[in-house]
């Protein structure tokens, strides 16, 4: 079955891996059976965002459409809104990614609002790291979904091990808030979240590129082991992602 992985990272200096060839990254996706992947930066969370976005765009352009790039910006930077627009309109990025605690900001701070408004105008989703205090709890992230009903907000980890109950609350409360099941939380938690949320607002991710390659294989195998109907699996594995990414 087709798989769109909603959460992978272009490895770089930030995780000690060194930059990888696009073909090597695609081979890793092949080993896990992933057809297409949303690819996010790692370096851009710590260093120059424009450089990181350009690198991501370059690698996505070499992937034959398999890598779907999401940009990031320093939300405090003067050029943040313009950089979002450049990435989406000129470079073909399909969404934004933020990691509030790595990037040192809270999603509730004022300077996030013009960025969220721009993403809504451009009709692209924002995927957030979530699941960890103190700046990345699901309801903190979902606050933007509350404030910008036209914006699509994706909880990039579904609350992880400790805040998945809060993630369920956030996704249920806001029609424009979705979840990507991704990370070290056990499969039983993912199964419970699917049961509580229904299948239409759930996508999957592996965090591939962050940590070891085997992680992608391991996590896809764990998704395959979940008991799901064919229709539900299709929705979660790729249909919902395709809809959010406006691929249809």
């Amino acid at each position: 079955m087709r798989i769109i992985d909603m959460h992978t990272h272009l490895p770089g200096k930030a995780n000690g891996a060194g930059r990888r060839q696009t073909s090597d990254f695609l081979a890793m996706l092949d080993r896990a059976g992933i057809d297409q992947a949303v690819v996010l930066t790692l370096e851009g969370f710590f260093s120059d965002d424009v450089t990181a976005n350009n690198a991501l765009a370059q690698q996505a352009s070499e992937s034959g459409g398999r890598l779907i790039p999401f940009c990031t910006v320093d939300p405090r930077g003067d050029g943040a809104v313009a950089e979002v627009r450049r990435c989406v309109e000129e470079l073909g990025f399909r969404g934004l990614k933020f990691h509030p605690w790595l990037q040192g900001f809270s999603p509730l701070e004022d300077y996030m609002f013009p960025i969220a408004a721009q993403a809504a105008r451009l009709n692209v989703p924002i995927l957030f790291h979530d699941g960890t205090p103190c700046y990345s709890t699901p309801l903190q992230v979902a606050y933007l979904a509350d404030r910008f009903p036209e914006l699509t907000v994706i909880l990039g980890h579904g609350g992880l091990m400790d805040l998945w109950v809060e993630a369920i609350a956030a996704v249920k409360r806001y029609p424009n808030c979705y979840v990507c099941l991704c990370g070290s939380a056990p499969p039983a938690i993912f199964a419970r979240m699917i049961a509580e949320l229904g299948v239409d607002k759930v996508t999957i991710g592996t965090d591939a590129g962050f940590g070891e390659d085997y992680g992608a294989v391991f996590r896809i195998a764990a998704f395959h082991a979940l008991e799901l109907s064919g229709t539900a699996r299709e929705a979660i594995y790729w249909r919902n992602a395709a809809r959010l990414l406006r691929m249809e």
Partner: protein, 249 residues
């Protein structure tokens, strides 16, 4: 003939996010050639219904004495009653103690937990502690507790996951009496732990039914270990700290 595999942490019964009968758990274990597993109490038994939990685990252990071992639980807020309940449950046949600070409503370095650790020290048994929940229980806090009780073996439940995984190796290096469980760690990370502190400090645990047992077993094939190291990880070490015999099967 391989060495008997012991799973250091599994849960039967109806839990917050899982449910499995002891029979179904044994069937899973059989499919992966797991000889024995240490049963954890479910959350409600950890938090409030300590005696009900301890008695249930004792019943299951008596029904399958060659397959199940068990962690005793008592909420430290019960004070001397908690100590008495632990003593009773251990005397009756449970093997170690489990603490879950976030579920039991205390912070790991609060002194109320110390009388319970003293029970473990007196009996020479290990204490399993769920770590990784911010504020309540983090790896460096467990290292501090382990330094206060150097004679007690502690198992670092969940390895500080999710977001305190980077604290794991430094914490384990600070206290030689801490052991790392395999679940929630991928092979290359386990290889790093083994390189840092040695294979005799790592114990196989699956946290089934939260995870998929076959994947938890198979991933260990990707961790470079010589046969002696593998025997230690797959059961030798946990048998030693539990004080049970560990043979072939």
């Amino acid at each position: 003939m391989g060495v008997a595999v012991i799973d250091a942490h599994v849960t039967a019964g109806v839990n917050s996010c899982s449910s499995i009968t002891p029979d179904d758990l044994l069937a899973l274990m059989d499919r992966q050639s797991i000889s024995q597993a240490v049963l954890s109490p479910v959350d409600q038994w950890l938090a409030v219904d300590n005696r009900e939990g301890n008695d249930t685990l004792l019943r299951w252990i008596r029904a399958w004495p060659d397959r199940f071992l068990g962690y005793a639980a008592a909420n430290p807020w019960y004070g001397q009653r908690a100590v008495a309940e632990l003593e009773r449950a251990l005397e009756d046949g449970l093997h170690a103690i489990k603490l879950h600070p976030a579920r039991q409503g205390f912070m790991l370095l609060e002194h109320i937990v110390e009388p319970l650790i003293t029970v473990a020290a007196r009996r020479g048994i290990p204490v399993y502690v769920v770590t990784g929940v911010p504020i309540a229980s983090m790896p460096l806090q467990l290292a501090e507790l382990a330094r206060r009780f150097p004679e007690v073996p502690f198992i670092m439940g969940r390895s500080g996951r999710t977001d305190f995984a980077l604290d794991l190796i430094p914490a384990v290096q600070q206290a030689p009496n801490i052991y790392v469980e395999t679940v929630y760690n991928l092979p290359s990370y386990l290889a790093m732990v083994i390189k840092a502190v040695g294979p005799e400090r790592v114990v196989f645990a699956s946290d089934v039914p939260m995870t998929h047992l076959q994947l938890e077993v198979e991933k260990l094939d990707l961790v470079p270990m010589d046969p002696k190291a593998r025997d230690a990880v797959m059961g030798g070490t946990v048998a030693r700290i539990l004080g049970i015999s560990h043979g072939g099967r």
